[in-house]
Symmetry: C2
Subunit: 267 residues, 2 copies
């Protein structure tokens, strides 16, 4: 039975970490992250990868969330408030009626992550993905197509940012990731672990659809607009997705979906 704690006062110090979530998003939540919505909560609870610190639930959603709440570990408080009090705490209308605060654990190094994968592993490597929608979308596709891990360079944004988790539909709580170094460092590391780095670019030398599936493969993606640096394209296997003349523009999350689908179908 979860430990329900009624909250009537938006200024209750026990829910201080839920106050003004959007403003806190901007400065970061330190070793904590905010997960919102039922589907995300379900992934958070079922995978047990991250510890839960607390939940904040709108009273009227308690019945609907009964199955999820029954899985909340003992000792984790479930703060229960009216929708009005919840909205007043958070600073905007939480129409999904449920927020959770998770705790980041020790994150693995990229080295350790790759070393633990099998001979047909598929990973995604991201360089300069600064947009949380794109980050979330890429994780969603990585989970959907069974990618084993995501490597993220130091200039990319945080997959555990609230909006990235939401757009990923919880996938950034599922797919293991490691964040370190720059694109060159990631490609070096991938090579040492026997991964073929396949770089997506409108200037790619081969068509994606002609690419045979390498054994261990890493899909390398850069930000829309600048794309991957030429130097990285020169030292990787670069592939392109042919597009109609006059409109050579795909969203990077969509690109990841197309490429992951191609590789997964040959897996």
């Amino acid at each position: 039975m979860p430990q329900f704690v009624p909250v009537d006062d938006p200024a209750d110090p026990r829910v201080a970490r839920y106050v003004a979530v959007r403003e806190r998003d901007l400065v970061g939540h330190g070793r904590r992250f905010i997960a919102e919505g039922e589907v995300v909560l379900r992934h958070l609870l079922s995978r047990r990868r991250f510890a839960l610190e607390s939940l904040l639930v709108a009273e009227k959603r308690l019945g609907h969330l009964a199955d999820e709440l029954a899985q909340v570990p003992a000792g984790v408080p479930v703060y229960v408030a009216s929708q009005g009090v919840m909205d007043a705490i958070v600073g905007f209308h939480i129409h999904r009626g449920v927020l959770a605060i998770g705790l980041r654990g020790e994150e693995p190094t990229a080295e350790a992550l790759l070393a633990g994968l099998g001979p047909h592993a598929l990973v995604v490597a991201l360089v300069g993905i600064a947009n949380h929608d794109n980050m979330g979308g890429i994780f969603r596709n990585a989970a959907a197509f069974g990618a084993d891990a995501v490597l993220i360079d130091e200039t990319s944004c945080d997959p555990l940012y609230r909006k990235a988790i939401r757009v990923s539909v919880g996938a950034s709580l599922i797919v293991p990731f490691a964040r370190e170094g720059n694109g060159d460092g990631l490609v070096d590391l991938l090579a040492r672990h026997g991964f073929e780095a396949v770089a997506l670019s409108p200037r790619g030398r081969e068509r994606l659809s002609d690419l045979p599936r390498p054994g261990r493969v890493a899909l390398l993606l850069g930000a829309e607009g600048p794309g991957l640096p030429e130097a990285l394209l020169a030292r990787t296997r670069s592939v392109r997705i042919p597009m109609a003349a006059g409109f050579d523009s795909l969203n990077v999350a969509t690109t990841s979906g197309i490429a992951l689908h191609h590789l997964a179908m040959q897996g």
Copy 2:
């Protein structure tokens, strides 16, 4: 030479249609639509599919937009304001520094659109796509993969809504579309014009990657969550995109990109 009109007063009646754009978005702009940003403006000007009523440009962007502004037809006023006055008119910060008001023309019927297409035409048919991000993303993919038209049922949202245009990177100003009837009506119409309707669904009978390209083909997509109604799946060729166990969830715009790529590569 475009007709530049300096505006110093946010209450100037000549720019009244730009006042409080977000509030106006909610009620609709009638036969007008709002386009924002340089790339979107470029598509709007180069394709000449829609008439322009006026532009509103931040003074500091004039030099940067010189090429685009040179293409503005004579008689279309280009209102020029400081960034501060522009933001005060519109009601939020327009960091792209350019807005345009376009005029919807007579839209073709779906019948007329299909009748004008060739023997290898590729169209996208949308049922119940109510989210503007998804609508914009689907149009972006339709343009990128050279789809000839998009048919939209009456429950789907408007591709010329400001956010849909922006997310489409102008593609909803490029790809011809028609909006009418329901999913059944669209499938009837497609059949009469010799299009094979290929419906995407997690419950699809064939794998997308095994699908040979039909001559005239229509990709049928429904909203995430409910998806396409069973009755529509029963009377179309239904295909699925295989996904990892435990996470069978793809964004509908990403789905459109994967399916369009598959068909375009065999086109």
